[in-house]
Each structure stands twice: as C-alpha cells, then as structure tokens.
Symmetry: C2
Subunit: 241 residues, 2 copies
DNA sequence: TAGTGGTCTAGACCACGAC
DNA sequence: TCGTGGTCTAGACCACTAT
C-alpha cells in the first residue's frame, strides 16, 4: 500500500491539499464550518490520516483553516479575532491595537486606470467598482483608501450606506470570494490637498502609502487597494523571521 | 516506548528543538556546517526519526536550517543568496532586486539615548557602539542608517574602514551572535537637512522610516537600527498570507 | 552504490472539548 | 464517555546527491 504516487505525480499530501482547497473555492465548505475529521477525510481519499494531516498543516499555516484540539478543524472566518489583523498592520505607537472604523466618501463604477487594469489583469477598457473611504483609528481619521474591483466579478456591489466595514467578509458572503494572500508595496509620499483635508494635516506632509494587490484562493488578482496613512502616532508593524 | 512525555512536560519534538537550538547558540555548529543526519540525531536523543524531523521542520521554517535533499541539513549562512534578502525588503520599482552597498559615515562609542536603551534592554547610562552609514542601491544613495549595539556585547567592533557591508555576517563570525528575528515599525517622516544632503533630496521630502529591533537566537534584543529611505524609485515589499 | 532527506503508512496513547 | 486533534513510534520505499 505504500508509496502510491507514480513517477511524475505530485506528492499525495499536495494532491489532497488541492482537493481540500477546491472545496473551499467552490463554497462547499463555508467560513466557520467544521470540516470532516482527519480520519473521515483519510477514508474518503484512501490515504492515511498522517497524509491528510500534512495537507491540513499547510492550509493552517496559510490561515485558511483553524484547528481546535478536541473539537475539530474549521474554515477560517474573516470575522474571527485572530484574522481581523491578518491584513491590517497599522497600530498606535502606544496603546493596544484597535479595529478601524470607516466613513465612505464615494462608491461607483468607472473605467480602470492603466496601472489598476494591469494590477487586476483586466483589459484597458474594463469597468471597475471604485470605493473611496476614510478609515478612523480610535475615532481619529488616519488613512484615506481607494479600492478597485473588477465590476464583472463583483456584480451588485452595494451602495455607500450598505457597504460594511469589513470588505473581505463581504466578498466572502456575497460572492464566495476568499482573499488568501496579499502583496504590499510601501512608500513615503507627500499629502495632496484632498488627502490633507481628509486627514487634518498640511498638504505636503509625509504619508505612508500602502499599495496592495489581494489575491483569491486561485491566486487571481482580485482587489487593488491604495492607502495613504498619517503616521504621526501610528506605525506599520512587520515581523520578519 | 510510546508517549514518553510525562504530564507537565513539553512535547518531545520541542525539547529536541531546544537541544538543536542550543548547539547553534553555543556555536557548536557553525553557519554552513552540515548537521548530523536525522537518524543519527534520533539515536543520540533516543527518539524516533519522525520526532527529530518535526523539530528540524520548525527550524527550517524559521530560516535557521536548510535542507538539501540527498545531501544533508545545513546551518543557515547569512551570506547565502536565499537569506541575503530575508531582512532587506527594499527593492526598485522596476528592475530586479540588487544588494545594497554601504558608505560608512561614522562609527564610535557613545551613551545610549533613552529610547535606544529601552529597546536594547540596557541601563540608562549604558555605553553603545553607534554606526552611521549611507546605503546605495544600484549605486544611488537610497537610505541613511543609524545602528546601535551594546558595547559590552560587541567588544572590539572594527573601525570604519574594516566594517563590512553585511553586518549580520560579522556578528556571527566575530561574536557568534546570530540574528533570528526582527520587528520593524514603519512610518513616513520628513527629511531633515542632514538626511536631505546625504540622499540628494530637499529637506522636508517624505522618507520611509524603518525602526528595527533585531533579536538573537535567545530572543535578546541585540541591534537597534533606524533607517530613513528615499522611496521615489524604491518600495518596501511585504507579502501577507 | 551508499547515504541523505522526502513521503507514506499503520497504529498507539494523550490532552482537550462537548455532551 | 466519546470524538477530535496532538504527539510519537517503527518501518518502508522513493528521489536526489555525492563518490
């Protein structure tokens, strides 16, 4: 029974991983759901429990699944406390991390700028949804954000008054799109007059610019986000090891 | 022979991990060395090969060890291509990543500023080594850096002309100190006149400030580093998943 | 060809959570 | 009490590297 993988095939645990990932992509298992036990999955796929465990290990490391000893393995939920800060790295210089709130400036459809179309892998003329908002940390305006989405994929995007604070949770509930990974390019830039007004600083003041491309579970570029942040009493935290 | 860990003890593989880490800390195994095979270590510690493997897995994930199939497991070397960029996240907006070069401005001993003493867990009056340098990317001055070290731990720090570009490699070779982890706090700030002169920008121009605390394998804060970077044609890259 | 890490299996007991 | 994930073992074959 050992060493089933014929030559040229990928390791069994990676094949199992793909099957599990597929069930997440297809929405077969929803955020918060408990997935079948390791032994059940092992029986289903005709592999050993250790192989299933190794597949799940990789997905837990990517924050796609969560293990709870004695209880089960669950699909990660973007509302969970542990994951709320997964993609939000700004925190006060002193005092604890807090969740930002949002004030929508505008939301509507427009044609993608060249840079955005490239980032989202769209044609030059593609229509996008464009959301602008100010985010407040501890009640103070801290950053202005522009978010761009492929209008074809996010059909029926809500109006400003119905746009929730946690967008990734919205993508998941409304369109079954899960953000799995992001790349951020960070620079220091000077505030333009609009930003200065929104953030209550002087034009030309240094702002932290975070340009993010978020990808779904199939690695497709899904969201383009440009944030400009006043970092007088905040910082972007990063751990490297 | 199973389930050896008595109640209250940590899992075997974590205990093995600590023994392996200790041999790195003590300099028993040097960067670049091949460590004993999994089976040899299993025999030495009287555990199964799978348990040793799990311990090594955690250290490979932390970039402390490297596996080479068919060859062996090696102690990570801060000169290896793969690790050169582990802690250096700045890259050109277009074009490939390149290694920065350095031009030393000054190196000497001084008394620690309060913030630095706190960061390095030193007494207020402690003496530190203070190194200032400009770093060039593709030959262009891109950032100014101030590096602070506990003078008591880094006795015999070389003069400017003998200070190499790769400091973490120096710490390792000269004092057997390995940097295992860093925390970075990133802000946007305005260039002061000195920085503007060094970087060829105007005073007040926005700079990316990266404040880093680097820890050794025993988690002791070891190096304080403040970098201020001109990000007109560069960015700080970060992947989140 | 010998030795190393990489994958896989089967089965065991433990710690924890839910009931 | 039962089912879950967490740990551990022993042994097997494969893929790769060095010689």
């Amino acid at each position: 029974m050992n060493q089933v993988p014929a030559i040229g095939l990928r390791p069994l645990y990676l094949q199992v991983r793909e099957r599990l990932l597929r069930r997440l992509i297809d929405g077969d298992w929803q955020p918060g759901d408990m997935i079948p036990s390791e032994n059940l999955l092992a029986a289903e796929y005709q592999v050993s429990q250790g192989t299933v465990r190794k597949a799940i290990d990789t997905m837990v490391r990517e924050n796609l699944l969560r293990r709870r000893q004695g209880s089960g393995t669950y699909v990660a939920n973007s509302n969970d406390d542990r994951f709320v800060f997964q993609f939000f790295r700004l925190q006060p210089d002193d005092g604890p991390r807090t969740l930002p709130s949002s004030r929508i400036i505008s939301v509507g459809r427009t044609q993608a700028a060249a840079a955005v179309a490239t980032a989202l892998d769209l044609s030059a003329a593609a229509e996008i949804i464009r959301l602008r908002r100010v985010r407040l940390i501890d009640g103070v305006a801290a950053l202005v954000e522009t978010i761009c989405l492929d209008a074809a994929r996010f059909d029926g995007f809500p109006a400003a008054r119905d746009t929730p604070n946690n967008l990734y949770n919205l993508y998941s509930r409304r369109w079954n799109i899960t953000i799995g990974r992001t790349e951020e390019r960070i620079k220091a830039v000077a505030a333009d007059p609009d930003e200065a007004r929104a953030l209550g600083c002087t034009p030309g003041a240094p702002l932290l610019q975070v340009e993010r491309i978020a990808r779904d579970l199939e690695e497709r570029p899904t969201e383009y986000r440009l944030s400009r942040c006043l970092t007088e009493r905040l910082h972007y935290m990063n751990q490297l090891s």
